[in-house]
Symmetry: C2
């Protein structure tokens, strides 16, 4: 059975999110046909998935399950109680690609092997966690909700199970997930124990399980898990309550805070609860903390989280380039939240953030060859940066094949596989094109093919392949960065980020959207100390950076007055980088700085001669670090 | 017996460091008589010591020892294996103050109680660590050198023991320390186990124990501990080898790196080994990494360590104000290293750093009332900074009375008590005045009294109280920040930071040194992104900051063009702050910034009207945070 067959059966709602309760309905019947996103999916199938399966086997993630079938289980491998989720995230991604018939038999065998293990290992009562199910484990099931990650495990299990059912028509994993979810409802449901998980994630999953099964208990459970935070329901360990978003009730949060991935998963889950319950008090909080985040806490790349310590978000305007944590998982979580905010409101601004994250903070997490990963994503690498050799998680100079805490790699796998689900949505008699990619998009009434070289070029052509026999609207998102947009050659103005064309369409009708992509310079808010007096270069949705490779002066000595960008030229990407377009500018080279760290300000020394200028090539940020480990900068000083 | 009696007996060498092997010899016979440093010592005796004793009792540090005398010891209190060192550091400070006869009977009782406990608890073989001596402890003695902190414990024990002998003439603690040290020499000496401690500190202490006892085994042991690093002698836990300075042999270190306190203690210990062995290969490394640190890794305040994560130093030029970790213990460790580099070379530049740390990164660690502590010392507090409520260590908005990891408070106690030891030194027929404070300084040949209101004023008067019957030099350090220095009203020029006057002195002879203290502005190196386009204000050795309290505009909106500093005026410190001198300037208030975080650079908006200006009072950085928790900045933008 192929993806298209399943999609057809489920009426175009077989994607990652299935609500029809929001302002717009998701639309999963999008097939990426070419271009960068399709290249990413092909790379996922060809390289990242086989690599991930190999790493999971080598790291012992399967052994952790199979050992439980032994009389005397050998020790758990790895130090974290959430390593089952690496399997679940991988299965979720595989469900898409197996469903689409794009994988080989080995992948299918892996899928079946893991599902079979899970079926056999699951406890009588539905409990499933290979770390804590071991009778010899230091802790008992449910003993340490703050660090046990049991409900987090359940969340990823549910998401894999729902994907397997929707994309493959395979219900086996769903049966496992439902047994575990029912145990959770019995234990933590209304009138039950007041516990919550130290790592939010299950909320999104429970709402999706409700959507899939119609069992309202799961929705109630998700709501309870959101509502219980900040009420003393979690015994904390060494981390502060903010880390767990448990210092305040959700609705009282003044801002996104604490561990970045936890925060964004929680907010995405709360948005799901709002979508299905219509609880405006939830939305008011979500709306407020979203806007505050975008205005004060988000990196230009869409990265979230400034602090290595506690992998935390940080204060407003605390956005240092060199220590940007911007965990790859936080990028995925933020896209999930953004998409749900869009579903709730139809707001294009959420899709702008989605796009910013997709092409920058998310894409940078994976190497060009698809087999190495960044855990954290700084916006600057200093020339003498020391690579942390013993790191479990972040702090790396260049991408690594795997991690002791490998949450990011399989998260990338599942997200690559489902990128098509976030390309379009619909309202009654309206298709909304959320992201631009070469694709075929279908609703019940309409089919459209999109031809574009986006994000390398802003030309987007839509061809109607199948038309309804009535007036129907096609609404195109106009990115926040776009100026001078034309439709079929005529200047047009977007309304709240949308350009809507309503017609009686006929097969073969075409629309040609042009989003000019001049080179842009971005400054930063004066409260943002880390990037004062510096410019970041972007084009379309792509933030660019300068790498030391091929740059004829130390990158830290480059000075790029913003007015130079008017003369910027497009260039092909440097040898060895797969991007299509780079940016060529002329920068000054600052005179050799005096060695003093904090010189006393006396009279300004006269500038004796015009500075040396050099040609500099800026490459898309998501491609950095694919060559040698050398210096890199997104923000270049302007004088 | 008073301190002066002991001092007289030991020929002026009874201070914290006793080497005579360096370029200059330390001189412990300095009595602070008035002024800021003496005020700090009085506050130590009056407030910080009683507070610390109370906290140590309440936290269980004494119980951790006494429990071991029980048949079935109750559990250890606290989570760290180094809590005995909080007692040792306190004892070291008490030894100074008891020796000087400045404490009451209760303090003496505490001292005797702890010494008595240590004598009884010490194991047969000399081992002493209240965490690991418990047979029920999760680990065995010597099992985990990386995290057991046993040798670190020994280091602080030795330092307390040496201080007790030198300042009080009390040998009991020294007997305990020697038994433990001899066990270490038997186990880890030449031909023994190749282990090293995860936390350097014992190196300095072992060299001092050699100086005190003449037993060369201790010096050899210290040298071995330095030489063994970076040779795979330590099994690391979750932290990377850099954290422990164990990724490279000491002599191969390209730069100060890893955990800041560990790094500075190690460097100080290596300097001691150099002082006694004359091993130039050690000094070459020390010289190189010192200069590199000062040129690339030190905060303007003298703070060391940019990262909360791993409490680490960070890359070159990675010096963000808001996340400056600058642990208070690192400040003390850095002063120890600086002093030893001075002893090794006579170099005034090391004393400049000592002074910078003393009046800024160190002094800020203690509240004005002496009973609350900063663990980490940022140079900026954002208005919405969230106080971490569950922190074991740093990340606090304002000072706290104690910590789960209380290494800093007793370190402050011991250092305050011995400040006099770092005021002067001698060469043959020469007194070197290293720091300026109201004091009486004696060498065998000469006695001088110093009268000054330093650091509030740069006038320093020296009066010869006792003169030798031969020509003798008095060498005065001229701080690196000083310009237009005069001696007895005549302009003078320092040579390598020293101004030397050699005469046949007579009792009553006077010198009047004048170090002008205009208000200075400091810029920062162009590679230092975090402070680009900003100015820091200083006067004499004191870095200043602007606190929100009393400032008529948000501190983040202040703009202070550097040329405004020429019109700066001195003012009295604001109500509620004990400092004598503050700085008054006129700053602009930036127009309300647009809310966008990363505005696209288009044409510059014309400036419509002259900006609003407001008077702003800058206060000494070390006094910040003694009022409400509000915003603070050392670095203010210049446009």
């Amino acid at each position: 059975m192929t993806s298209e067959q399943v999609t057809a059966r489920s009426g175009g709602r077989a994607g990652a999110v299935r609500t029809e309760a929001g302002a717009v309905a998701p639309l999963s019947s999008v097939r990426l046909t070419s271009g960068l996103l399709r290249h990413w999916q092909d790379r996922n199938v060809r390289s990242t998935i086989p690599h991930t399966i190999e790493q999971l086997r080598a790291a012992g993630n399967l052994d952790n399950l199979s050992r439980l079938l032994a009389e005397e289980p050998p020790p758990y491998r790895g130090r974290y109680p959430f390593l089952d989720t690496d399997l679940y995230k991988t299965l979720e991604g595989l469900a898409y690609e197996i469903g689409a018939g794009r994988t080989d038999a080995g992948v299918r065998e892996f899928f079946d092997e893991v599902v079979g293990l899970l079926e056999r290992v699951q406890a009588e009562d539905g409990y499933l966690n290979s770390f804590l199910q071991d009778a010899a484990a230091a802790k008992k099931p449910w003993e340490d909700l703050a660090w046990g990650h049991e409900l987090y495990n359940l969340g990823h299990l549910i998401q894999a199970a729902v994907a397997a059912r929707r994309r493959m028509g395979d219900d086996r994993l769903l049966a496992v997930a439902v047994r575990f979810a029912d145990l959770v409802v019995r234990r933590f449901g209304e009138g039950g124990e007041g516990g919550i998980c130290g790592h939010p994630e299950v909320e999104m999953a429970l709402v999706e399980l409700y959507r899939e099964t119609g069992n309202r208990d799961y929705l109630t459970q998700a709501r309870l898990f959101v509502d219980r935070r900040g009420h003393g329901n979690l015994r904390h360990s060494i981390f502060p309550p903010e880390y767990f978003q448990d210092h305040l009730p959700f609705r009282d949060l003044p801002t996104v805070t604490g561990h970045a991935v936890r925060m964004a998963y929680l907010a995405a889950g709360a948005t799901d609860v709002f979508l299905e319950t219509g609880d405006r008090t939830l939305f008011e909080t979500l709306d407020r903390i979203w806007d505050d985040m975008v205005a004060t806490k988000l990196y230009l790349t869409g990265g979230l989280g400034s602090r290595h310590s506690d992998e935390a978000i940080g204060d407003r305007y605390e956005l240092p380039s060199e220590r940007s944590y911007s965990e790859t998982c936080a990028a995925i979580a933020l896209m999930q939240w953004a998409w749900r905010m869009f579903l709730a409101t139809g707001g294009a601004k959420y899709l702008d953030v989605y796009e910013r994250v997709l092409f920058n903070a998310y894409a940078v997490g994976l190497s060009a060859d698809g087999t190495a990963f960044f855990y954290d994503n700084p916006l600057q690498r200093r020339p003498d940066h020391e690579q942390r050799s013993g790191a479990e998680t972040g702090g790396e100079a260049l991408r690594r094949p795997w991690f002791g805490c490998p949450c990011c790699p399989p998260n990338i796998v599942r997200w690559m596989a489902q990128l098509g689900d976030y390309v379009a949505a619909e309202r009654p008699d309206m298709l909304l094109v959320a992201q631009y990619a070469e694709a075929r998009i279908e609703t019940d009434a309409l089919a459209v093919s999109v031809t574009t070289d986006y994000p390398w070029d802003g030309d987007v052509r839509l061809t109607v392949e199948r038309a309804p026999g009535r007036p129907y609207a096609i609404s195109l998102r106009i990115p926040g960065w776009a100026r001078g947009v034309t439709l079929d050659g005529e200047p047009v103005t977007a309304e709240d980020g949308w350009l809507t064309v309503e017609r009686q369409w006929a097969q073969g009708d075409k629309l040609r959207l042009h989003l000019p992509m001049p080179v842009r310079g971005h400054a930063s808010h004066p409260y943002l100390d880390a990037t004062r007096g510096a410019v970041a270069v972007a084009r379309g949705p792509l933030v660019h950076c300068v790498e030391q490779q091929g740059t004829p002066a130390p990158v830290d000595d480059l000075v790029l007055p913003a007015d130079r960008l008017a003369a910027a030229e497009l260039a092909s990407a440097p040898e060895g980088l797969p991007g299509e377009v780079a940016i060529r500018v002329t920068a000054d080279v600052a005179p050799t700085a005096p060695p003093e760290l904090y010189p006393e300000i006396t009279e300004q020394p006269p500038v004796a001669e015009p500075p040396l200028t050099v040609p500099v090539t800026l490459v898309p940020y998501f491609l950095w670090g694919n060559r040698r480990a050398e210096a890199m900068r997104v923000w270049v000083r302007t004088r």
